[in-house]
């Protein structure tokens, strides 16, 4: 980027600032390494469902690791909750909590927070948020369709797990009496504590090297810097207004006598003016009975993710609390996008933040069509399984996310079967999954015709079948867009919707709703097709050779090529 005139002046000299800023981000990244390599549950160690960050004394996020966008907006609240609950901090303290109504996101996301010191001076905090595959409740995986947060599992306010390095055995005992597979959870918690230790140690080292005053000043300045950068990039984009409306499949709670879930609507209006952006959810439906209600910070995380992809796709701006000062998110209290206690929230954490992230592209397509993408899969497609492993008699909980399509772009096709938007977790290798849990995956492949037609085709989704082996399993599913298809843009068509079914040994197949628990009998098969993504631009503008190649490779069937593109192959 050219910079011919005077650059904004930092209080610290530009080189020292750059050096310390890079060291803060390296600290957050190093925390991530420690967590991933030592955690016990597959969702952490191989799927990467966690975020690490360095925070200032007020709980603002100074540096986030290269982690999940879903946590962009809500991590600071997690640290602020500890600061407001506790008066003083001592080296070696470790705090833990997960309450979505007090700084958390949903109960399975467990926050572990440690202060960092230089002598007696508090420098800030390290925080690791990690998704535990189970935090109690009636359903293994804690993904049941309930109507109050009390049913969603163990709810921990900010409590002190270690005081000056000494374990609080009371808290420890309560936690591990309330989760399934406690040995595995203990390994995860140890990994979180070790990652925090590494992060706070690096903060202390930086204070030793540069002086605590300089470090604290630069920590504040890093956030100002991100604010300046985001505003500079926003100013370069066209002003405009846009709105978008979309509906969700349901909340997992069926009305008495109903056999399908009732849909509800989210509405968004966006105003971009100069170096500010306002996103208003006025008119969105009131909060629902089941766990599809998003705390405001979860909604904001979804918005921030897409703002960053639109404004700063090459990641010039380091992610921290300063980034979002120019972005205002408004949502009516008590709505599905700003839930109030004691509404249940577990699904909304990813499903609603996926939704608002996709909608923002739709709302801004009218005035910056070359900076947006068509709708992606719009779900984390979570399947949990729990029961007793017939091979050894042990209890198990399995938590997996299956990936659909990444939306088509103004100049490129979408991407097949890859994490999009707020999520970036990995799959678990089939060979590791089957050694760990009593299931057999019978196919795992790309779904033909699931990418929305367009000049640029949407990415395809995946389809997979699990056979439940030996004993029955208590399963639960959370997969949006079984009814609401991922939309296309600029004339592109929608991608395929999701489909969930269970096939029992008598050969009967029963379609399932998009959310909630269900029993999976021994030797039954669970069938899942996750959504594709929308196309961009009119299908008849697509290069005919690309259509033919898609048919040859089986991404598009010959029938669909004829129907959607008018091409005979």
């Amino acid at each position: 980027m050219a910079n011919d005139g005077g650059a904004p002046r930092l209080k610290t000299d530009a080189a020292t600032f750059e050096v310390v800023k890079n060291s803060l981000y390296a600290a957050a990244e190093e925390m991530k390494v420690v967590l991933a390599k030592t955690a016990y549950s597959p969702i952490l160690k191989v799927a990467g469902d966690y975020s690490c960050g360095v925070f200032d004394v007020a709980g603002e996020m100074v540096a986030q690791g290269p982690d999940l966008p879903i946590h962009l907006g809500s991590m600071p609240d997690a640290v602020k909750a500890v600061i407001s609950a506790w008066d003083s901090f001592t080296p070696g303290d470790v705090f833990i909590h997960n309450d979505p109504y007090f700084g958390g996101s949903h109960l399975p996301d467990v926050n572990v927070i440690s202060p960092a010191f230089h002598g007696d001076t508090l420098l800030g905090f390290a925080c690791v948020r990690a998704h535990w595959p189970d935090v109690g409740s009636a359903t293994p995986g804690s993904y049941g369709a309930v109507t109050e947060i009390f049913g969603e599992g163990l709810r921990l306010p900010p409590v002190r797990l270690y005081a000056a390095g000494v374990l609080n055995r009371d808290v420890d005992a309560i936690i591990f009496s309330n989760v399934r597979t406690p040995e595995e959870r203990r390994g995860d918690l140890n990994a979180q504590v070790a990652a925090n230790r590494r992060g706070s140690q690096r903060l202390s080292d930086l204070a030793e090297k540069y002086g605590a005053d300089t470090l604290l000043r630069i920590m504040a300045e890093v956030m100002d810097y991100s604010d300046t950068m985001l505003r500079a990039l926003l100013r370069d984009l066209p002003d405009g207004e846009g709105s978008f409306e979309d509906f969700c499949d349901g909340d997992g709670i069926l009305e008495p006598g109903a056999d399908t879930d009732e849909t509800f609507t989210v509405r968004m209006k966006v105003i971009k003016k100069g170096d500010t952006l306002t996103v208003d959810f006025a008119g969105s439906d009131p909060q629902v009975a089941g766990p599809m209600n998003a705390p405001l910070s979860v909604t904001a995380s979804g918005v921030f993710t897409s703002v960053k992809m639109i404004v700063d796709p090459t990641s010039m701006i380091p992610p921290n609390s300063g980034c979002w000062r120019s972005v205002t998110v408004l949502a009516p209290k008590g709505s599905v996008v700003n839930a109030t206690f004691p509404a249940p929230v577990v699904y909304a954490n990813h499903e609603m933040s996926h939704r608002v992230a996709d909608m923002l592209f739709g709302a801004m397509a009218g005035f910056m069509p070359d900076r947006v993408m068509a709708c992606s899969q719009g779900t984390s497609a979570v399947l949990t399984l729990g029961g007793v492993d017939y091979r050894n008699g042990d209890r198990y909980v399995s938590y997996e996310t299956i990936k659909g399509g990444f939306g088509a772009r103004p100049t490129k096709d979408g991407i097949n079967c890859v994490a999009s938007g707020i999520s970036n977790t990995m799959n678990t290798p089939i060979e590791v999954l089957e050694m760990s849990f009593p299931v057999r995956v019978e196919y795992y492949e790309i779904t033909t015709d699931s990418g929305g037609a367009g000049e640029f085709r949407g990415g395809c989704g995946a389809r997979r079948a699990w056979r439940v082996l030996g004993n029955a399993s208590q399963a639960s599913i959370c997969c949006e867009r079984t009814k609401s298809a991922p939309f296309g843009l600029a004339g592109g068509k929608a991608g395929a919707t999701a489909r969930i079914a269970i096939e029992t040994l008598d050969g009967k197949t029963r379609e399932l709703n998009s959310k909630g628990g269900f029993p999976a009998p021994a030797d039954s098969r669970i069938l899942l097709e996750v959504p594709g993504s929308g196309g961009y631009g009119p299908p008849d503008a697509r290069d005919k050779a690309k259509v033919a190649q898609d048919v040859k490779d089986g991404y598009v069937s010959a029938e669909a090529a004829k129907r959607d593109y008018g091409v005979d192959v």
Binding site: D13, T16, V19, Y444
Partner: protein, 694 residues
Amino acid sequence: MSWRVGVDIGGTFTDVALVNEADGQIGIAKVPTTPRDFGQGVVQALEIALQEHGVAANDVTLLSHATTIVTNAILEGKGARSVLVSTRGFRDVLELRRSARADLYDLFQDPPGVLVPRHCRLEVTERLDAAGAVVTPLAESDIDAVIDFVRENDIEAVAVSLLYSFLNDEHERIVGDKLRAALPDIPVFLSSEVLPEIREFERTSTTAVCAYVGPILESYLRRLEEATSGMGLPSLYVMGSSGGVFDVAEGLKMPAMAIESGPAAGVIAAALIGRQLDKPNLISFDMGGTTAKASLIKDGGVETTSEYEVGGDGNVNRWVHGTGHPIRVPVIDLAEVSAGGGSIAWVDPGGSMRVGPRSAGAEPGPVCYGKGGTEPTVTDCNLILGYLDPEALLAGRLAIQAEAAREAIGKHLADPLGIDVEAAAAGVLSVVNNAMAEALRIVSVERGHDARAFSLVAFGGAGPMHAAELATALGIREVIVPPIPGGFSALGLVATDLKRDYVKTLYAALADVDLEEVGAVYDAMEVSAREMLRAAEVPESQWVLERGADVRYSRQAYELTVPAMSGPVTPETLSDLAAQFHEKHRMTYGHANPDEAIQLVNLRLTAIGKLEGLELRQSGAGDVAAKKGSRQVWFQKTGRVDCAIYHRDGIGADDEIVGPAVIEALDATIVVPPAWRVQTNNSGHIIMEAQDGE
């Protein structure tokens, strides 16, 4: 006279290094690389080098080569037309990957390439369970369909990777036997032969890489070997990614080993220096025009990793980025940063001073080279600070435009920031040094090693200029600059051993693993290893077989590799493994869980054919005066001071120089900051030491 010869193909130059086995004398030759036909360039380079140094072909005892041909084939998408054979229902394993995207926020990112297009990914009906037992028998008629497809579509290579073949290879073997019988001219790679290791995507990817590059590697090596044997040179060895060399036949069995064969060489050369100077604990630091690389040498041994991707954005720092093709073969553990002499410095819209990732490269190069560069680079800043000769480089062949560099720094950095040119240049230096210190930190402190217990070996064109400041940042007190730092990597090619790594998954709880089974796996790998060493004609007295194991706590996902005792497998073998694992875990991650069950995942064997040790030596003082003069040079501690300038060629053994000083040579400039002292030795190494109080 016996000579060893190494040839390293770089992007711009092909380096040839010659070492006299008797007295350690070094010779270097540089010729332009010929990208159209690498083999032709290699032959030319060899002819020139042998002639320049008066070496006859039959005096050459070892010919070793680092090639980028495999990596280039992948980067350019020019590999063989390949077929992948999978278990029914799983043909998309290569494309589904691990399902995470490479860049979190890049709306316009491209998906990673897939080496085998979907219509060439074929399935056979068969399935094993998680214990390796047959659930669905192999439908042999499906193999006939594969054979027909290969014939009809002009396919050049086949990869076969079935689920759980690391537990039970029977189905893969049947498929392989039928394919090989029907298609004798088509190379067939079985995952159970290439990499019998758990995790289907990584195993399949490694196998597919072998198929994709195998035919190209074969035609290249065969042609090259024909040419070199025509010159009367001995048989050709290739450096592998793990830092050893292998012969052509072995390389064609496992082409993935030939990936990243170049970068490993510098680390091996550094390890050689360590042996020669009796300094077993080193950090090697290689800085060139666009990147800087760091690697750790502990107790004389290089560290390797199996988490590696080829053909993507690289394995910069700590993470594979999900943009390339994973290969699960041991690769020398390098941390790399996009920081070199050509890295461009700029001020971003937030007012911070940034260096890289853009580089001026060789064209147009730094502003001061006067070849059209307009944006200030690290080299320009080094010039302004006095580290580089302000008149000319390369013994007068490259005139320096100092004023143009000063203007560029003023316009792009100093003026926007409201500081003077020297402060801006100093700022750039601290930013780039910090980025490189992070790379050094990753391979040392982050892996649980105390950097202060190591010496830094600095090489590459720009390494010796930055090394002392980096050492200071990490508390390292000794910096070694070898002879010919600019061509040092090629020396590694002749300083290594014959090496081949074997792996086999044995997935079991360490507490109740069958001792006989462990022994049998090691025995089988040792049989292969001995066959390999015998075929390579390494005398038996030079054979070394090193056992290892990949282990973790039973619920973790990532293993650590620890050495295993040789000889019969006993309960002590296992308890020793466990003890070493707890210790390594504690060192690496800060905690260990000694009560926790340990999972055995893979058994490893490294087969080494030791080559005779070498000593590297550069003759003593030439006939130039050591002291060249003096100029003003800027240092962090002192600001601008009068500083003595030396010719490296004029410095003799046991000379002592006290910093601040700058030592100039044709291929690299060595900066000695204040409070550092230089000691030379009789083999031409320059050793810098931080003095007390530093």
